[in-house]
Amino acid sequence: MNGNQSRQRLTLAVLKNTPTILFVVIFVAFSLLDQRFFTWTNFENIISSSAFVGILAVGMTFVLLTGGIDLSVGANMYISGGILAIMLEQGYPLWLAILAALVSGTLIGLVNAFLISKVKIIPFMVTLGTLTAGRGLALLITQSRAINVTKEMPFAAAHVLGIPLPIAVFAAVVFVAFIVLAYTAPGRQIYAMGNDPEAAKKAGLNVTRLTMFAYIACGFCAALATVIALSQQGRLSASFGEGVEFRAIAAAVLGGTSLFGGVGAVFPGTVIGTLLVQMISTGLVYLQVDLYLQDMISPLVIFFAVFVDAQRMGLIKRLERRNIRVEKTAGQVLSEKKAHSMI
């Protein structure tokens, strides 16, 4: 192998592992800038507070893999959270309230799924609609009141087998999603469908059912994220779940999931993406960046990362293109000449 080829291989390796490398670079940078960042408590804190975005992002990954998008997850959180908080306020048992929240979140997923796969409206419009209508519905349910649930939901700091509960739930969701996507038929078929919906139909795959499955899974994840987020925040306000769709989509895309469908993975991809998103916002807090600026900086960083991602996909394509001819290096030409003159 000549030097040119090995350099090309190195470039490819770097490009293909950009999310992980980006993760390490940002991590090291923050650690150097502030020593408090590099502590065990802080890691736990980052993972813990990223848990609900991570669960959302896992659901989002299913939808993105089909080639769709779900903008309504934030509104879904507000509705499910509203139901959960009001039921607790009125004295229903915790398990019933949580069950109701999970069912309502799944139903919202079902509404999206129905409009997209049966009525055949494009996902962007459908979920933009359910985003707006959903927030309206949630305001109606809660009368835009702030509801305190700290007392009723005391389990944010609870531990399962020594692991903080939010992290344990996140890990369980990732595990199940990973198994479904990698080791079951519907999982593999979702990849196939995202790659080429027409071919999937011709291959006899039930495209409608797969699409429905993805949006329902995303709705369920949004509801589960609601339970975690609400227990952590202790309070449902009118801005609950606002703007989380951006973080969820960013986490999935930063983790290597394509917005065009068929490419991506929950683990390590979406998990890394989630941690990256959370690390950036936590890091900015540590650096005591102006609170108002933080809201602008983290999207900028995310945009930058997505931009780098787009660039690297193009570059990978170019580098992997089969060459027509093998160019000889100067050294090879020289040695060939020598061999020739010896004859």
């Binding site: 198994i179 080791y183 079951t184 038929a185 593999r188 078929q189 990849y191 196939a192 995202g194 790659n195 080429d196 071919a199 999937a200 011709k202 291959a203 006899g204 795959l205 068929g262 490419v263 089969r322 060459n323 027509i324 001819r325 093998v326 160019e327």
Partner: protein, 503 residues
């Protein structure tokens, strides 16, 4: 007694009242290779789509193994043992070979929902061995060449235990060697008792591979018979319904001495090396090369889609290096790309919109940039009638509804509207039937007669010999030889391309 696997009895089919199949009756014997030929629009695809469960038939009877057979979707056709390998392959490029084979039929571990990956892998290896593919089942399909992908489709058909395998134009994107390999495998399937239906416009292939030949024209069966009853000339006249004496129209113009485009030691690392040629006004210069010879890449460099590392392109005496398509169009260079579906056309736009694309800036106000629609429409109408594009309404009909030949005319037409002085055409007659081919050659001849220069890239030697003034041969990114019209010789050109004899 004869053993028929498939019998079409008086099948009729019409779309929106337009009959596309009229009283079609064909009996297909078990274990034969049947070549199905006909011009675009003759009804070949519809007939095969009926067989593959894509569309239903209106009346008549279809028998499979003597039993009534009316598939209502592709899946039931697959279950009945009919595999349809479409021209555009239906593989999922993001998945592994193994997953592609079993996507609709994954084996599970016991009754659990989990896939039995070991079994998937072992089985895939068996099927890959049957088509001589020595690849790991875990390789994703996007890493495979078109030829390898085709064979994966064949392996998939085998994995579905198909008894009838339909190939629709399987060789259009294969290299000569890959084609040979595919034929060897089809031959082997044949020996093992499979029935093959092979659709192609390449009559030489049909002659080589088929046992029986079926010719369709305008939705009717014109002739069915064993291969020995046909020669290529006869196939053509039966397909077209009239005698085409010469497939290649007469040229009545001669190239001039005036150089319009020149390449001087043009190189791009890993792609092309030391390309030198000159193209004269009124010349039809052929570029022969097999797939992967660098011919299309050279065209892209000339047109400015790709850049060169070194060397010069001289256009009309001026430097034309490091250009972009936009600048090339301004210099009146035109480039009919090899893939009309992906690169040449906006398939869901109308014929008129496609035709107007290139020349649009010439029909806009100088300051306001508003399109002068009526003038443009006149120009579009002119080109539609000049090229005889068969469409009911160029301003209403989408391009994807046209036949392959007419689509190609639209691609050429959109460049002709810009009055090119240099026209680069890359495989302009691929997947186009005999009649439309003749028309396309005539169109190109007319352009040349008007003084433009044409660079005609093709992997069909016959057509280059038939239409060109001169042929240069490319291989491994280099020009391997050049032939004047007097020295045109099929064998010598092929030998040059393969670097046999001499070198």
């Amino acid at each position: 007694m004869e053993d028929f696997i498939l019998q079409f009895c008086k099948i009729d089919k019409s779309f929106f009242g337009v009959p596309v199949l009229k009283n079609v009756s064909i009996d297909i014997q078990r274990g034969r290779i049947v070549g199905l030929i006909g011009e675009n629009g003759a009804g070949k695809s519809t007939l095969m789509n009926i067989l593959g469960g894509v569309v239903p038939f209106d009346s008549g009877k279809l028998l499979l193994n003597g039993q009534d057979y009316a598939p209502h979707d592709p899946e039931s056709a697959t279950r009945a043992g009919i595999a349809f390998i479409h021209q555009e392959l239906n593989l999922f490029t993001n998945l592994s070979i193994a997953e592609n084979l079993f996507i609709n039929n994954f084996p599970h571990i016991g009754k659990s929902p989990f896939l039995n990956k070991t079994q998937i892998r072992t089985k895939t290896k068996e099927y890959l061995a049957m088509v001589d593919l020595n690849l790991s089942p875990d390789i994703t399909v996007d890493r495979l060449s078109p030829g390898e992908r085709q064979l994966v489709e064949v392996a998939k058909a085998l994995s579905q235990d198909a008894s009838v395998i339909i190939f629709d134009e399987p060789t259009t994107s294969l290299t000569a060697r890959e084609t040979e390999r595919l034929f060897a495998i089809i031959e082997r399937l044949h020996t093992s008792g499979k029935t093959i239906i092979y659709i192609s416009h390449i009559l030489r292939d049909i002659q080589q591979i088929a046992d029986d030949i079926v010719i369709l024209r305008d939705g009717e069966v014109i002739k069915v018979g064993p291969k020995k009853e046909f020669d290529i000339q006869k196939m053509i006249s039966l397909m077209v319904g009239r005698d085409i004496k010469t497939l290649y129209p007469e040229r009545d113009s001669k190239p001039t001495e005036q150089v319009i485009l020149e390449a001087r030691s043009l190189s791009k690392a890993g792609i092309v090396h030391d390309i030198n040629f000159s193209l004269h006004k009124g010349e039809l210069l052929g570029v022969f090369g097999l797939m992967g010879s660098g011919r299309s890449e050279l065209a892209q460099i000339i047109f400015g889609i790709e850049d060169s590392d070194s060397g010069e392109i001289i256009l009309d005496g001026k430097q034309h290096n490091h250009q972009s398509p936009v600048k090339s169009i301004k210099q009146n260079i035109a480039f009919v790309t090899e893939n009309r579906r992906e690169e040449g056309l906006l398939m869901t736009s109308t014929v008129a919109e496609n035709l107007g694309l290139v020349t649009l800036p010439k029909f806009t106000g100088s300051i306001t940039n508003v399109v002068r629609q009526s003038a443009l429409n006149v120009a579009i109408r002119n080109i539609v009638s000049l090229l005889r594009v068969k469409t009911n309404d160029a301003f209403q009909n989408q391009v994807k509804g046209l036949s392959g030949g007419n689509q190609q005319k639209v691609v050429i037409g959109k460049w002709l509207m810009n009055n090119p002085s240099v026209l680069v055409v890359d495989e302009p007659t691929r997947g186009v039937d005999v009649g439309a081919k003749h028309e396309i050659y005539s169109i190109i001849n007319d352009i040349v007669a008007k003084g433009a220069a044409v660079l005609f890239i093709s992997s069909e030697i016959e057509e280059l010999i038939g239409v060109c003034d001169r042929i240069i041969v490319m291989g491994v990114g280099e020009i391997l030889g050049s032939f004047e019209k007097a020295d045109f010789n099929r064998e010598k050109i092929l030998q040059t391309a393969f670097r046999e004899g001499g070198k």
